[in-house]
Subunit: 144 residues, 2 copies
DNA sequence: CGTAATCTCTAGTAAGTCGATAGAGATTGA
DNA sequence: TCAATCTCTATCGACTTACTAGAGATTACG
C-alpha cells in the first residue's frame, strides 16, 4: 500500500522547486541537500520528471531545474502516476477466473475515487501555501 | 500503491466464506477453486487470517474454514492491515532530515483518512449484499 | 481401530523490484 | 579554455513477493 521512496522523493523535489519563486534554476545538489535525497538518485528522478513535462532544466554552470509550468497546475496525483504508475490499489491482471458478478471491481472503483479525490485536487501551490502557514504559525509560537 | 496479491486473495477468501450461510466449514480446495487462488498459497493465507481472529477452522475429514464472527463485523480495512500492514501510503521512516514545517505529514494524513473512510466502512456483509444485487440484476437481464 | 481427508507448520526458492551508485558525455557561463 | 552542471547508460546488492514442498497433527467414519 505504500508509495515508492522514489515517488516520495519526487514529490519533495517538486515541492522544493515550487517553493522557490522566480525563474532562476535550482541545482540538483541544493535540492538533494535540503530534502535529504541521495544526489545521484535524485538526478534520475528529476530527469524523469522532465520527460513528463513537469520540470525544465538548464545545463552548465549556473544551470539547474525549475518548474515547467505554474505550481497551481501540477497536482500530487499527476506526479505519483508518472513515477509509480496507476494509483488504484487493485491489481488489473488478477481479475481472470473471477465470477463476473464479483463485487470487488466496483469496490475498488470507490477506493480509487476516494484516493483520487485528494491526490488530484491537491496542487503544489496548495502545499506551498500550507507550508507558509505552518511556518508563520511556528514563528508565532516561537516568539511567544 | 498496489496492495499485495496476498491481500487480494485474502479478501476474496473471506468474501467467499461470508457468502455461504450456515456454520458448515468450507474446504480450502473449494475456496481455491472458486476464487482462482493457488491452493498451497491459500493455506498460508487462511492460517494467517485465523491467527488474526477473523476465521476459525476444523481439521480432519469434513473439516474446513468458516468465519469466526458475523460478516457485519469484519471490514475490508481490517483484513488489509492484518495482511499487508499499515495502510498509509507515506513512509514512516522517511521523515528524518525533513524540515519540521513540511506540509507532507498533514497531507498524507488527509490521504489516509480518505482511504480509511472507504476501507473501514465497508464490511463483508456489504460486499455480499452488493453481490446479491448484482446477481439478481444479471438474472433479470438474462430473463428479458 | 484404521484409513482417508483435511488442516498445520516449517522451509525453501526463483524471479522480480527497489534504491542506489558509477562513470563517461554533453552543454553552458565566465 | 575550464569548471560547473545536467544527461545518459549500465550495473548491483538487498530485499520482497508469490509460490511450492513435504512432513505432521487432527478428525470423521466405517
Amino acid at each position: 500500500m505504500e508509495i515508492s521512496v522514489k515517488s516520495e522523493y519526487a514529490l519533495r523535489a517538486v515541492f522544493d522547486l515550487a517553493s522557490r519563486e522566480g525563474p532562476q534554476p535550482t541545482k540538483i545538489a541544493e535540492i538533494a541537500g535540503r530534502q535529504a535525497i541521495p544526489q545521484k538518485f535524485l538526478e534520475l528522478i528529476l530527469s524523469q520528471l522532465k520527460q513528463g513535462g513537469f520540470l525544465a532544466s538548464r545545463r552548465g554552470a549556473e544551470g539547474g531545474y525549475f518548474l515547467a509550468k505554474p505550481a497551481e497546475t501540477i497536482t500530487v496525483g499527476e506526479i505519483l502516476r508518472h513515477i509509480d504508475g496507476p494509483i488504484s490499489p487493485a491489481r488489473r491482471q488478477l481479475r481472470e477466473g473471477l465470477p463476473p458478478d464479483s463485487p470487488f471491481p466496483e469496490f475498488w472503483g470507490e477506493v480509487e475515487e476516494a484516493l483520487a479525490g485528494v491526490l488530484d485536487r491537491t496542487t503544489f501551490a496548495d502545499l506551498v501555501s500550507r507550508w507558509r502557514e505552518n511556518s508563520t504559525r511556528q514563528v508565532a509560537n516561537w516568539q511567544i
